[in-house]
């Protein structure tokens, strides 16, 4: 239904994904440390990233390898020589009032172009990948339109970014989100960008409906927000057919987009080659060497999980959507080979828990041995599935071994369960009476028993014990002849 609606509307979504190369130790053009998040505002800056008069950029050569790894993972063509351009615009977060970036016209050659990434909803073409410097960060009191002031932190200025530009091949907001998660996992697998760091991967989206103008949405802070902002825009543009070509700002608090500026043409940026940086030659040797050391990518890993561990494709897809989760999975099954149990927990129960708490997978408290221990108990039939899950929920927040909970569970053996059945019978004499004539009421008694044990009892054992007791009692209660 939803799909049909989307295609009727002729939705076209393109993304510009900015990802910081967090694996670099220094900024793109100077030797300031790149872990700017650990510092007070405006404390990791120098004459170069502040653009002080007379300072010159010097390319951090390692960025080339990182960008090439991304290019290879996204099946791009890689030109033999790449160069840098200036994008001129006045804005307080840009210390030089121009950004050093790459360009694909007027003799500009970005590091890579013409790639693709296959997603469940089809192939998404990658128009180009370019290297550029991150601007500083502006903070407002409330929102950008009404704030009486803006604060600038230049710590982020000059951080190495790659911008990945897609063709408008994304069919709906959910598709955009799926693409972003997949891209993030790829970036993590090739080890260039840690998506769990705040602001490390940011997306601007552009969207048009059939017959309408293209609207760009900025300030989308997370993938969840991309989904929301795009859905808002679809609703807005449906009501306003035609519209104007413009750039809109996503207000996360009010969950609306507001006009930022009517879109200037690209040429308004007065792009021209950066005279202070020489063109960079990308040798065939370098590309071959990088290809040879290319790590396993999420799609390959997912296929391996299905073949090797016999988990379902859906489970494998979810687990490999985040490198940390996939790594965790492999560590656990190394300790306890129960891929299906562990896969289920990692694909369903743990993400559910993290979502409820608003946590990232990396903030999970437990370590692989904890999960292995729990899986072993379940695999050995010492506890049932429900018990295992309830223990899982207990150990997740504190990050402890399940041992102490397992010990309590082990006390829930047959003799203790018999006592519980006796207690249930005493409290529910009416139901016990009915159960003798109507077997369906037995389920009610089992339910009471489960409640008493807070779900920890083995269901089958409980049924067996209740049935036994019922038949025993009916025998003893039979009227004397």
């Amino acid at each position: 239904m939803r799909q049909e609606l989307d295609s009727d509307l002729g939705i076209k979504i393109g993304l510009e994904v900015h990802c910081q190369i967090t694996s670099l130790r220094t900024k793109l053009f100077c030797s300031c440390p790149s872990n700017y998040r650990d510092y007070e505002p405006n404390s990791v800056i120098c004459e170069i990233c502040m653009g002080l008069p007379g300072s010159l950029p010097r390319l951090n050569a390692k960025v080339i390898e990182s960008a090439l790894k991304i290019a290879l993972a996204l099946n791009c063509e890689i030109p033999p020589v790449t160069n840098f351009f200036r994008k001129n615009y006045f804005y307080p977060d840009t210390p030089k009032n121009f950004q050093i970036t790459q360009y694909d016209k007027a003799g500009g050659v970005p590091i890579a172009h013409n790639g693709f990434l296959d997603s469940w909803q089809g192939r998404v073409r990658i128009r180009r990948i370019q290297i550029e410097e991150d601007p500083g960060k502006l903070s407002y009191d409330g929102n950008i339109v009404t704030s009486p002031y803006a604060l600038v932190d230049y710590n982020r200025a000059g951080i190495a970014l790659t911008e990945i530009v897609t063709e408008p091949d994304l069919k709906n907001p959910r598709h955009a989100r799926e693409f972003l998660f997949k891209l993030r996992s790829i970036l993590e697998h090739i080890g260039v960008s840690d998506g769990s760091l705040e602001g490390a991967i940011r997306a601007d989206a552009n969207i048009s409906l059939a017959g309408g103008k293209r609207v760009e949405i900025k300030n989308v802070s997370s993938f969840k927000e991309v989904d929301r902002a795009l859905n808002f825009e679809i609703t807005r543009q449906k009501r306003l057919p035609g519209g104007v070509m413009e750039t809109r700002h996503w207000d996360e608090v009010r969950r609306v987009t507001v006009t930022l500026r009517v879109k200037e043409e690209e040429e308004g940026y007065r792009y021209f080659p950066e005279p202070d940086l020489s063109p960079v030659t990308v040798s065939r040797d370098l590309i071959d060497r990088l290809k040879a050391i290319m790590p396993e990518l999420p799609d390959q890993r997912r296929a391996r999980f299905v073949n090797e561990f016999k988990v379902s494709d859906e489970v494998a897809k979810i687990i490999t959507s985040e490198k940390a989760m996939a790594d965790f999975f492999e560590e656990v099954i190394l300790l306890q080979y129960s891929p299906k149990i562990i896969g289920g927990w990692l694909a369903v129960d743990i993400p559910g828990y993290l979502k409820r708490r608003g946590l990232d997978f990396k903030e999970i408290g437990i370590n692989p041995s904890h999960l292995a221990e729990l899986a072993k108990e379940l695999a050995d039939g010492k506890i049932n599935d429900n018990v295992a899950k309830s223990i899982l929920m207990k150990i997740l927040p504190v990050g402890e071994s399940p041992r102490k909970y397992l010990e309590i569970e082990n006390e829930m053996d047959e003799p203790s369960l018999r006592e519980i059945v006796t207690r249930v019978f005493a409290r529910n004499s009416g139901a016990v009476e009915e159960a003798r004539h109507d077997p369906r009421v037995i389920d009610f008694l089992i339910g009471q028993g489960m409640k008493e044990t807070r779900g920890r009892a083995d269901h089958a054992l409980l049924r067996k014990l209740i049935s036994e007791k019922l038949s025993q009692e009916s025998r003893s209660n039979q009227p004397k002849p």
Binding site: M50, G51, P53, F90, P95, F98, R270, P275
Partner: protein
Amino acid sequence: MFDEIRNKVALNAYITVSKDQARVQAEKADPKRDARLTSVAIAVKDNISTAGIRTTCGSKLLEDYVPTYDAGVVSQIVDEGAIVVGKTNMDEFGMGSSTEFSAFGPTRNPYDESRVPGGSSGGSAAAVAAGIADVALGSDTGGSIRCPASFCGLVGLKPTYGLVSRFGLVAYGNSLEQIGPITKTVRETALLLDCITQKDPRDATSVGKGKAQYIEELDADIDGIRIGIPSDFFGPGTDGRVTKSVWKTIHALEEEGALVEETQVKSLKYSLPAYYIIAMSEASSNLARFDGLRYGLQDKKGARDWSSLFIRDRSDGFGSEVKRRIIMGTFALSAGYIDEFYLKAQRVRTIIRSEFEKLFKRFDALIGPTMPTLPFKVGEKTSDPLAMYMTDIDTVPANMAGLPAISVPCGSADSLPIGLQIMAPPFREDIIFKIGSMVEKISSWRSS
């Protein structure tokens, strides 16, 4: 030296005299160390960054701007024992050929104070010519070292693009410019150049030089050296007295064994317009950072929003010539015009480069006048920007092609100096010094 500077304050050669810093440098100097510039008093153009000494670029906008770091060349000369005595006056951001477009007032020519010293490094040249600096550093985007050297009877060299670090030079046209020496003799220029040609990792376009010492190239034999004389360098705007003096020197070189032949640089007539388009385009971007937000002149009253703050700071801070060039450069890069102007100018540049490449297969060096005229009067050309731009006609080709070029005094007319320009292939400053020292020997000019 500082007393003499005070006595000659009317020249307006310095924007800032760094007496206190100079004393500290002099005390730190180790006389036993093997340094090549020990106790040499050096004047530094005010667009070259000096840590702790304000660097204004001749602009009101940077009136109180004090750099936190030294330019690459400043570190190198201080390391050689030189003492920075002050920062010299200049056309604002290097945009001018007379040192009249300075927020700190015009500099005067020591040979005739009613005349300009040339520009934009006019303060550096006036200081050396007046003896209130031993040597000086200037910068040359389209002739800004050679023009004032010529007008003040000095030697001034624009090195090959990439030979000298630009780190710390406040950019005007960054694909064109180099820092270089302005001195009384070719020997001093060679020595100072030897001291500033270390490859600087902070400038990605810096190549530096090998072990060769330019100072060893002086007084060499020029017998058999092939010199081309492009007739285009003696265009219709050239003063007859300049032509006469330059040719006289060329004939003298011939007598010393040089093989002289007249030739042509056909692309010369396109060189000046293309140069101004490129320089102004780059300038419009390079000067964008001066918005008053992080440093420099800022309207203390504050503004309603950032764009009105930027507009106010830039309107108040920049002089009219700078505004003219920013506006023209912005236009040349704009949508719909970039093909017609900036990109076309770059194509012209490629043509100029290849024409010089071809010429240097036939010649070891090219010679002509540095400036088409003698030093003009203060105020003579300030209201006619095109006439001012035209004075750069002979100097800009070297910047367009990245070639080394020197101005050496070759004579005088009415007690005003005349300069001769020698150009050589990239990184062949040795040829320039060889011929330059001979010109110095045979010419009638003696700097006072």
